[in-house]
Protein backbone atom coordinates (compact mmCIF):
# COMPACT_ATOMS: atom_id res chain seq x y z
CA UNK A 1 0.00 0.00 0.00
CA UNK A 2 1.34 3.33 -0.94
CA UNK A 3 1.81 6.04 1.62
CA UNK A 4 -0.20 8.38 -0.61
CA UNK A 5 -3.39 6.62 0.36
CA UNK A 6 -3.32 8.57 3.58
CA UNK A 7 -3.58 11.69 1.48
CA UNK A 8 -7.24 10.88 1.15
CA UNK A 9 -9.04 12.99 3.74
CA UNK A 10 -11.43 10.31 4.88
CA UNK A 11 -8.72 7.72 5.15
CA UNK A 12 -6.57 10.20 7.01
CA UNK A 13 -9.25 10.93 9.56
CA UNK A 14 -10.01 7.27 10.06
CA UNK A 15 -6.38 6.32 10.57
CA UNK A 16 -5.47 9.22 12.80
CA UNK A 17 -8.59 8.73 14.88
CA UNK A 18 -7.21 5.35 15.78
CA UNK A 19 -3.69 6.43 16.70
CA UNK A 20 -4.42 9.86 18.11
CA UNK A 21 -5.35 8.79 21.66
CA UNK A 22 -2.20 6.68 21.88
CA UNK A 23 0.07 9.44 20.69
CA UNK A 24 -1.60 11.96 22.94
CA UNK A 25 -1.33 9.63 25.90
CA UNK A 26 2.31 8.87 25.23
CA UNK A 27 3.01 12.57 24.84
CA UNK A 28 1.41 13.30 28.19
CA UNK A 29 3.36 10.54 29.89
CA UNK A 30 6.66 11.57 28.34
CA UNK A 31 6.08 15.20 29.20
CA UNK A 32 5.18 14.47 32.79
CA UNK A 33 8.17 12.19 33.25
CA UNK A 34 10.62 14.38 31.38
CA UNK A 35 9.60 17.68 32.90
CA UNK A 36 8.87 16.20 36.30
CA UNK A 37 12.20 14.43 36.45
CA UNK A 38 13.97 17.49 35.20
CA UNK A 39 12.25 19.83 37.56
CA UNK A 40 12.25 17.79 40.75
CA UNK A 41 15.06 15.29 40.57
CA UNK A 42 18.05 16.80 38.84
CA UNK A 43 20.87 18.62 40.58
CA UNK A 44 21.71 22.23 40.00
CA UNK A 45 24.49 23.15 37.67
CA UNK A 46 27.59 24.44 39.43
CA UNK A 47 27.61 27.61 37.36
CA UNK A 48 24.03 28.20 36.37
CA UNK A 49 22.39 27.14 39.60
CA UNK A 50 18.83 25.97 39.38
CA UNK A 51 18.33 27.78 36.05
CA UNK A 52 19.54 24.70 34.16
CA UNK A 53 16.12 23.28 34.77
CA UNK A 54 14.85 25.59 32.06
CA UNK A 55 16.71 23.48 29.54
CA UNK A 56 14.01 20.80 29.71
CA UNK A 57 11.59 23.18 28.10
CA UNK A 58 13.89 25.45 26.17
CA UNK A 59 15.74 22.92 24.10
CA UNK A 60 12.76 20.75 23.13
CA UNK A 61 10.73 23.75 22.08
CA UNK A 62 13.64 25.19 20.10
CA UNK A 63 14.14 21.83 18.45
CA UNK A 64 10.49 21.61 17.46
CA UNK A 65 10.28 25.19 16.33
CA UNK A 66 12.77 24.41 13.59
CA UNK A 67 11.42 20.99 12.77
CA UNK A 68 7.85 22.21 12.51
CA UNK A 69 8.95 24.59 9.80
CA UNK A 70 10.79 21.77 8.04
CA UNK A 71 7.65 19.67 8.19
CA UNK A 72 5.65 22.53 6.69
CA UNK A 73 8.23 22.84 3.95
CA UNK A 74 7.94 19.17 3.09
CA UNK A 75 4.15 19.31 3.18
CA UNK A 76 4.17 22.37 0.95
CA UNK A 77 6.38 20.60 -1.55
CA UNK A 78 4.05 17.63 -1.57
CA UNK A 79 1.13 19.95 -2.23
CA UNK A 80 2.93 21.69 -5.05
CA UNK A 81 4.08 18.48 -6.69
CA UNK A 82 1.25 16.05 -6.03
CA UNK A 83 -1.60 18.30 -4.93
CA UNK A 84 -2.77 16.22 -2.01
CA UNK A 85 -5.15 18.34 -0.02
CA UNK A 86 -4.26 16.73 3.26
CA UNK A 87 -0.67 17.85 3.00
CA UNK A 88 -1.64 21.45 2.41
CA UNK A 89 -3.99 21.35 5.35
CA UNK A 90 -1.36 19.65 7.50
CA UNK A 91 1.02 22.50 6.77
CA UNK A 92 -1.66 24.93 7.76
CA UNK A 93 -2.36 22.97 10.92
CA UNK A 94 1.28 22.83 11.93
CA UNK A 95 1.96 26.54 11.65
CA UNK A 96 0.32 27.72 14.89
CA UNK A 97 1.94 24.85 16.78
CA UNK A 98 5.33 25.78 15.38
CA UNK A 99 4.72 29.42 16.21
CA UNK A 100 3.89 28.59 19.82
CA UNK A 101 7.01 26.43 20.07
CA UNK A 102 9.09 29.29 18.76
CA UNK A 103 7.45 31.61 21.23
CA UNK A 104 8.18 29.25 24.10
CA UNK A 105 11.81 28.96 23.05
CA UNK A 106 12.03 32.73 22.89
CA UNK A 107 10.34 33.32 26.21
CA UNK A 108 12.25 30.70 28.14
CA UNK A 109 15.43 31.93 26.52
CA UNK A 110 14.66 35.49 27.50
CA UNK A 111 13.88 34.48 31.07
CA UNK A 112 17.05 32.44 31.19
CA UNK A 113 19.10 35.24 29.78
CA UNK A 114 18.18 37.57 32.63
CA UNK A 115 20.30 35.79 35.28
CA UNK A 116 22.92 34.40 32.88
CA UNK A 117 23.76 37.36 30.69
CA UNK A 118 22.24 40.09 32.78
CA UNK A 119 19.77 41.10 30.11
CA UNK A 120 16.44 39.83 28.90
CA UNK A 121 17.35 40.08 25.31
CA UNK A 122 20.60 40.00 23.47
CA UNK A 123 20.97 40.22 19.69
CA UNK A 124 22.75 36.91 19.61
CA UNK A 125 22.52 35.12 16.24
CA UNK A 126 20.66 32.12 17.63
CA UNK A 127 18.08 34.23 19.31
CA UNK A 128 17.81 36.65 16.44
CA UNK A 129 17.22 33.97 13.88
CA UNK A 130 14.50 32.55 16.10
CA UNK A 131 12.86 35.91 16.16
CA UNK A 132 12.93 36.00 12.37
CA UNK A 133 11.54 32.48 12.26
CA UNK A 134 8.70 33.68 14.45
CA UNK A 135 7.98 36.46 11.98
CA UNK A 136 7.86 33.94 9.16
CA UNK A 137 5.34 31.91 11.10
CA UNK A 138 3.22 35.00 11.66
CA UNK A 139 3.31 35.98 8.00
CA UNK A 140 2.50 32.46 6.88
CA UNK A 141 -0.50 32.22 9.17
CA UNK A 142 -1.72 35.70 8.26
CA UNK A 143 -1.61 34.80 4.57
CA UNK A 144 -3.69 31.67 5.14
CA UNK A 145 -6.22 33.72 7.04
CA UNK A 146 -6.43 36.46 4.44
CA UNK A 147 -7.32 34.35 1.41
CA UNK A 148 -10.80 33.00 0.95
CA UNK A 149 -10.38 30.42 -1.76
CA UNK A 150 -8.85 27.36 -0.13
CA UNK A 151 -6.85 26.14 -3.09
CA UNK A 152 -5.49 29.57 -3.85
CA UNK A 153 -4.48 29.92 -0.23
CA UNK A 154 -2.74 26.55 -0.31
CA UNK A 155 -0.86 27.46 -3.47
CA UNK A 156 0.24 30.85 -2.27
CA UNK A 157 1.25 29.79 1.21
CA UNK A 158 3.27 26.88 -0.07
CA UNK A 159 5.21 29.15 -2.39
CA UNK A 160 5.70 31.54 0.51
CA UNK A 161 6.97 28.63 2.58
CA UNK A 162 9.53 27.72 -0.08
CA UNK A 163 10.75 31.25 -0.61
CA UNK A 164 10.65 31.90 3.11
CA UNK A 165 12.81 28.87 3.83
CA UNK A 166 15.50 30.11 1.50
CA UNK A 167 15.41 33.53 3.08
CA UNK A 168 15.38 32.07 6.58
CA UNK A 169 18.60 30.25 5.77
CA UNK A 170 20.11 33.39 4.28
CA UNK A 171 19.09 35.31 7.37
CA UNK A 172 20.74 32.74 9.56
CA UNK A 173 24.08 33.31 7.79
CA UNK A 174 23.57 37.03 7.67
CA UNK A 175 22.87 37.21 11.37
CA UNK A 176 25.90 35.11 12.14
CA UNK A 177 28.06 37.44 10.17
CA UNK A 178 26.52 40.46 11.81
CA UNK A 179 27.03 39.43 15.41
CA UNK A 180 29.08 36.62 16.88
CA UNK A 181 27.01 35.68 19.86
CA UNK A 182 26.97 34.63 23.46
CA UNK A 183 24.74 31.63 23.02
CA UNK A 184 26.34 28.27 23.48
CA UNK A 185 26.79 25.97 20.57
CA UNK A 186 24.95 22.78 20.11
CA UNK A 187 26.21 20.09 22.45
CA UNK A 188 23.09 18.16 23.26
CA UNK A 189 23.27 16.05 20.17
CA UNK A 190 26.68 14.77 21.12
CA UNK A 191 25.81 14.29 24.74
CA UNK A 192 24.23 10.89 24.61
CA UNK A 193 26.70 9.46 22.12
CA UNK A 194 29.82 8.96 24.14
CA UNK A 195 30.37 9.10 27.82
CA UNK A 196 32.94 11.74 28.52
CA UNK A 197 33.57 14.24 31.17
CA UNK A 198 34.27 17.48 29.38
CA UNK A 199 32.25 20.39 30.56
CA UNK A 200 31.46 20.96 26.91
CA UNK A 201 28.90 18.26 27.04
CA UNK A 202 25.73 18.13 28.93
CA UNK A 203 26.30 15.40 31.43
CA UNK A 204 24.04 12.39 31.57
CA UNK A 205 22.29 13.51 34.69
CA UNK A 206 20.73 16.21 32.58
CA UNK A 207 20.65 14.35 29.29
CA UNK A 208 18.22 11.55 30.08
CA UNK A 209 15.32 13.68 31.27
CA UNK A 210 16.11 16.10 28.49
CA UNK A 211 15.71 13.41 25.85
CA UNK A 212 12.51 12.23 27.42
CA UNK A 213 11.10 15.67 27.32
CA UNK A 214 12.24 16.21 23.74
CA UNK A 215 10.35 13.03 22.89
CA UNK A 216 7.36 14.36 24.79
CA UNK A 217 7.36 17.61 22.90
CA UNK A 218 7.72 15.79 19.59
CA UNK A 219 4.82 13.48 20.39
CA UNK A 220 2.75 16.43 21.49
CA UNK A 221 3.54 18.14 18.22
CA UNK A 222 2.47 15.10 16.22
CA UNK A 223 -0.71 14.73 18.19
CA UNK A 224 -1.59 18.38 17.77
CA UNK A 225 -0.87 18.34 14.07
CA UNK A 226 -3.04 15.27 13.60
CA UNK A 227 -5.84 16.82 15.59
CA UNK A 228 -5.65 20.17 13.87
CA UNK A 229 -5.40 18.61 10.43
CA UNK A 230 -8.55 16.65 11.17
CA UNK A 231 -10.21 19.89 12.18
CA UNK A 232 -9.13 21.62 9.01
CA UNK A 233 -10.41 18.72 6.92
CA UNK A 234 -13.74 18.77 8.70
CA UNK A 235 -14.05 22.53 8.38
CA UNK A 236 -13.31 22.27 4.70
CA UNK A 237 -15.82 19.50 4.27
CA UNK A 238 -18.40 21.53 6.11
CA UNK A 239 -17.79 24.54 3.91
CA UNK A 240 -18.17 22.41 0.79
CA UNK A 241 -21.41 20.87 2.07
CA UNK A 242 -22.87 24.20 3.07
CA UNK A 243 -22.00 25.68 -0.28
CA UNK A 244 -23.67 22.82 -2.05
CA UNK A 245 -26.73 23.19 0.12
CA UNK A 246 -26.95 26.90 -0.52
CA UNK A 247 -26.78 26.28 -4.22
CA UNK A 248 -29.61 23.77 -4.17
Amino acid sequence: MSIWEYANPVKFIRTTDKVLPWIAGLAAVALVIGLGWGFFFTPDDYRQGSTVKIIYIHVPSAFLAINAWLMMLVASLIWIVRRHHVSALAARAAAPVGAVMTLIALITGAIWGQPMWGTWWEWDPRLTSFLILFLFYLGYMALWEAIENDDTAADLTSILCLVGSVFALLSRYAVNFWNQGLHQGSSVMRAGAATGDTTERVSNVFAVPLFISIAGFALLFIALVFLRTQTEIRARRMRALLARERQA
Partner: protein, 218 residues
Protein backbone atom coordinates in the same frame (compact mmCIF):
# COMPACT_ATOMS: atom_id res chain seq x y z
CA UNK B 1 -22.92 56.88 14.68
CA UNK B 2 -22.44 53.79 16.78
CA UNK B 3 -23.48 51.78 13.75
CA UNK B 4 -20.60 53.38 11.88
CA UNK B 5 -18.16 52.55 14.64
CA UNK B 6 -19.32 48.97 14.78
CA UNK B 7 -19.15 48.63 11.03
CA UNK B 8 -15.63 49.99 10.90
CA UNK B 9 -14.43 47.74 13.69
CA UNK B 10 -16.10 44.77 12.08
CA UNK B 11 -14.53 45.55 8.73
CA UNK B 12 -11.14 45.96 10.39
CA UNK B 13 -11.43 42.56 12.00
CA UNK B 14 -12.85 40.79 8.95
CA UNK B 15 -10.65 42.27 6.32
CA UNK B 16 -7.64 40.18 7.15
CA UNK B 17 -6.96 41.23 10.69
CA UNK B 18 -6.93 44.98 11.01
CA UNK B 19 -5.67 44.62 14.55
CA UNK B 20 -2.93 42.12 14.07
CA UNK B 21 -1.24 43.75 11.16
CA UNK B 22 -0.64 47.19 12.63
CA UNK B 23 1.01 45.42 15.49
CA UNK B 24 3.02 43.20 13.22
CA UNK B 25 4.37 46.21 11.41
CA UNK B 26 5.38 47.84 14.68
CA UNK B 27 7.10 44.64 15.73
CA UNK B 28 8.97 44.41 12.49
CA UNK B 29 10.17 48.00 12.44
CA UNK B 30 11.52 47.53 15.95
CA UNK B 31 13.17 44.27 14.97
CA UNK B 32 14.85 45.71 11.90
CA UNK B 33 16.49 48.60 13.71
CA UNK B 34 19.18 46.49 15.40
CA UNK B 35 20.06 44.93 12.05
CA UNK B 36 20.59 48.37 10.67
CA UNK B 37 22.43 50.09 13.51
CA UNK B 38 24.25 47.08 14.86
CA UNK B 39 23.81 44.86 17.89
CA UNK B 40 25.52 46.88 20.64
CA UNK B 41 23.32 46.77 23.70
CA UNK B 42 24.47 50.16 24.98
CA UNK B 43 23.63 51.94 21.78
CA UNK B 44 20.29 50.21 21.46
CA UNK B 45 19.30 51.08 25.00
CA UNK B 46 20.11 54.72 24.32
CA UNK B 47 17.90 54.96 21.27
CA UNK B 48 15.16 52.56 22.34
CA UNK B 49 12.49 55.05 23.49
CA UNK B 50 12.93 56.99 20.26
CA UNK B 51 12.79 53.89 18.11
CA UNK B 52 9.65 52.68 19.82
CA UNK B 53 7.99 56.02 19.27
CA UNK B 54 9.00 56.17 15.63
CA UNK B 55 7.83 52.59 15.16
CA UNK B 56 4.43 53.36 16.67
CA UNK B 57 4.14 56.46 14.56
CA UNK B 58 4.92 54.65 11.34
CA UNK B 59 2.58 51.78 12.19
CA UNK B 60 -0.20 54.34 12.70
CA UNK B 61 0.73 56.11 9.52
CA UNK B 62 0.60 53.01 7.35
CA UNK B 63 -2.99 52.22 8.10
CA UNK B 64 -4.20 55.80 7.72
CA UNK B 65 -4.95 55.72 4.03
CA UNK B 66 -7.57 53.09 4.62
CA UNK B 67 -9.61 55.38 6.86
CA UNK B 68 -11.47 56.95 3.97
CA UNK B 69 -9.97 55.40 0.85
CA UNK B 70 -12.07 52.26 0.83
CA UNK B 71 -15.28 54.16 1.52
CA UNK B 72 -14.38 56.53 -1.25
CA UNK B 73 -13.63 53.87 -3.82
CA UNK B 74 -16.84 51.98 -3.41
CA UNK B 75 -19.00 55.09 -3.22
CA UNK B 76 -19.94 54.75 0.48
CA UNK B 77 -18.48 58.14 1.25
CA UNK B 78 -20.88 59.89 -1.12
CA UNK B 79 -23.70 58.04 0.53
CA UNK B 80 -22.47 58.88 4.03
CA UNK B 81 -22.27 62.53 3.01
CA UNK B 82 -25.95 62.51 2.12
CA UNK B 83 -26.85 60.59 5.29
CA UNK B 84 -28.19 62.38 8.36
CA UNK B 85 -24.89 62.24 10.24
CA UNK B 86 -22.87 65.37 11.00
CA UNK B 87 -19.57 65.17 9.15
CA UNK B 88 -17.71 66.05 12.36
CA UNK B 89 -19.22 62.97 13.92
CA UNK B 90 -18.20 60.81 11.00
CA UNK B 91 -14.56 61.88 11.12
CA UNK B 92 -14.41 61.52 14.90
CA UNK B 93 -15.85 58.04 14.75
CA UNK B 94 -13.41 57.13 11.99
CA UNK B 95 -10.53 58.41 14.12
CA UNK B 96 -11.79 56.50 17.13
CA UNK B 97 -12.10 53.29 15.14
CA UNK B 98 -8.59 53.79 13.84
CA UNK B 99 -7.22 54.29 17.33
CA UNK B 100 -9.03 51.26 18.70
CA UNK B 101 -7.70 49.02 15.96
CA UNK B 102 -4.20 50.45 15.71
CA UNK B 103 -3.15 52.80 18.50
CA UNK B 104 -4.47 50.88 21.46
CA UNK B 105 -2.85 47.56 20.52
CA UNK B 106 0.43 49.41 19.99
CA UNK B 107 0.26 50.90 23.47
CA UNK B 108 -0.35 47.50 24.96
CA UNK B 109 2.43 45.72 23.14
CA UNK B 110 5.10 48.43 23.35
CA UNK B 111 6.55 47.23 26.68
CA UNK B 112 7.18 43.79 25.17
CA UNK B 113 9.14 45.30 22.34
CA UNK B 114 10.96 47.47 24.83
CA UNK B 115 12.57 44.23 26.00
CA UNK B 116 14.02 43.61 22.56
CA UNK B 117 15.68 47.00 22.58
CA UNK B 118 16.97 46.81 26.15
CA UNK B 119 14.84 49.65 27.39
CA UNK B 120 15.95 50.52 30.96
CA UNK B 121 13.57 49.15 33.59
CA UNK B 122 12.33 52.49 34.88
CA UNK B 123 11.37 53.49 31.35
CA UNK B 124 8.47 51.10 30.81
CA UNK B 125 5.86 53.01 32.74
CA UNK B 126 6.51 56.33 31.07
CA UNK B 127 6.75 54.74 27.65
CA UNK B 128 3.26 53.34 28.00
CA UNK B 129 1.89 56.57 29.44
CA UNK B 130 3.38 58.69 26.69
CA UNK B 131 2.07 56.37 23.98
CA UNK B 132 -1.35 56.19 25.59
CA UNK B 133 -1.60 59.96 25.56
CA UNK B 134 0.04 60.47 22.20
CA UNK B 135 -1.46 57.83 19.92
CA UNK B 136 -5.01 59.24 19.99
CA UNK B 137 -3.57 62.49 18.70
CA UNK B 138 -1.76 60.56 15.97
CA UNK B 139 -5.05 58.98 14.90
CA UNK B 140 -6.90 62.29 14.85
CA UNK B 141 -4.15 64.08 12.94
CA UNK B 142 -3.94 61.14 10.59
CA UNK B 143 -7.66 61.33 9.94
CA UNK B 144 -7.17 64.92 8.93
CA UNK B 145 -4.45 63.91 6.48
CA UNK B 146 -6.58 61.09 5.14
CA UNK B 147 -9.48 63.48 4.63
CA UNK B 148 -7.19 65.86 2.76
CA UNK B 149 -5.97 63.24 0.33
CA UNK B 150 -9.05 61.10 -0.15
CA UNK B 151 -9.81 60.53 -3.78
CA UNK B 152 -6.31 61.27 -4.97
CA UNK B 153 -4.53 58.44 -6.68
CA UNK B 154 -1.27 57.74 -4.88
CA UNK B 155 -2.86 59.54 -1.98
CA UNK B 156 -1.03 57.23 0.41
CA UNK B 157 2.39 58.74 -0.03
CA UNK B 158 1.13 62.27 -0.42
CA UNK B 159 -0.67 61.78 2.85
CA UNK B 160 2.52 60.65 4.59
CA UNK B 161 4.17 63.79 3.37
CA UNK B 162 1.39 65.99 4.72
CA UNK B 163 0.90 64.17 7.97
CA UNK B 164 4.45 63.64 9.12
CA UNK B 165 5.22 67.32 9.80
CA UNK B 166 1.97 67.53 11.73
CA UNK B 167 3.17 64.63 13.83
CA UNK B 168 6.32 66.45 14.87
CA UNK B 169 5.08 68.19 18.05
CA UNK B 170 3.40 65.07 19.37
CA UNK B 171 6.48 63.03 18.55
CA UNK B 172 8.86 65.50 20.19
CA UNK B 173 7.04 65.68 23.50
CA UNK B 174 5.98 62.05 23.50
CA UNK B 175 9.48 60.76 22.83
CA UNK B 176 10.84 63.26 25.35
CA UNK B 177 8.59 61.83 28.05
CA UNK B 178 9.64 58.29 27.17
CA UNK B 179 13.32 59.24 26.99
CA UNK B 180 13.37 61.15 30.27
CA UNK B 181 11.41 58.38 31.87
CA UNK B 182 14.02 55.87 30.74
CA UNK B 183 16.85 58.09 32.00
CA UNK B 184 15.09 58.61 35.32
CA UNK B 185 14.65 62.38 34.84
CA UNK B 186 11.62 64.54 35.57
CA UNK B 187 8.94 64.21 32.93
CA UNK B 188 6.32 66.63 34.16
CA UNK B 189 6.73 69.52 31.71
CA UNK B 190 6.99 67.32 28.63
CA UNK B 191 4.06 65.25 29.79
CA UNK B 192 1.89 68.31 30.29
CA UNK B 193 2.81 69.62 26.87
CA UNK B 194 2.06 66.29 25.25
CA UNK B 195 -1.28 66.01 27.00
CA UNK B 196 -2.14 69.59 26.08
CA UNK B 197 -1.41 68.98 22.42
CA UNK B 198 -3.41 65.77 22.42
CA UNK B 199 -6.46 67.32 23.99
CA UNK B 200 -6.31 70.35 21.75
CA UNK B 201 -5.99 68.21 18.66
CA UNK B 202 -8.78 65.87 19.65
CA UNK B 203 -11.10 68.74 20.46
CA UNK B 204 -10.47 70.95 17.45
CA UNK B 205 -9.04 69.05 14.49
CA UNK B 206 -12.21 67.09 13.66
CA UNK B 207 -13.80 70.35 12.56
CA UNK B 208 -11.02 70.92 10.06
CA UNK B 209 -11.19 67.31 8.90
CA UNK B 210 -14.93 67.55 8.37
CA UNK B 211 -14.55 70.74 6.37
CA UNK B 212 -11.84 69.21 4.23
CA UNK B 213 -13.82 66.07 3.65
CA UNK B 214 -16.88 68.05 2.56
CA UNK B 215 -14.75 69.91 0.03
CA UNK B 216 -13.16 66.71 -1.25
CA UNK B 217 -16.43 64.98 -1.86
CA UNK B 218 -18.11 67.60 -3.95
Amino acid sequence: MIALLIRDLRLAVRAGGGFGLGLAFFLIVVVLVPFAVGPQTQLLAAISPGVLWIGALLACLLSLDRIFALDWEDGSLDLLATAPLPMEGVVSVKALAHWLTTGLPLVLVAPLLGVLLNLPVQGYGWLVVSLAIGTPALSVIGTFGAALTVGLKRGGLLMSLLVLPLYVPTLIFGAEVARRGADGLAVKTALLMEAGISFGVIALLPFASAAVLRINIR
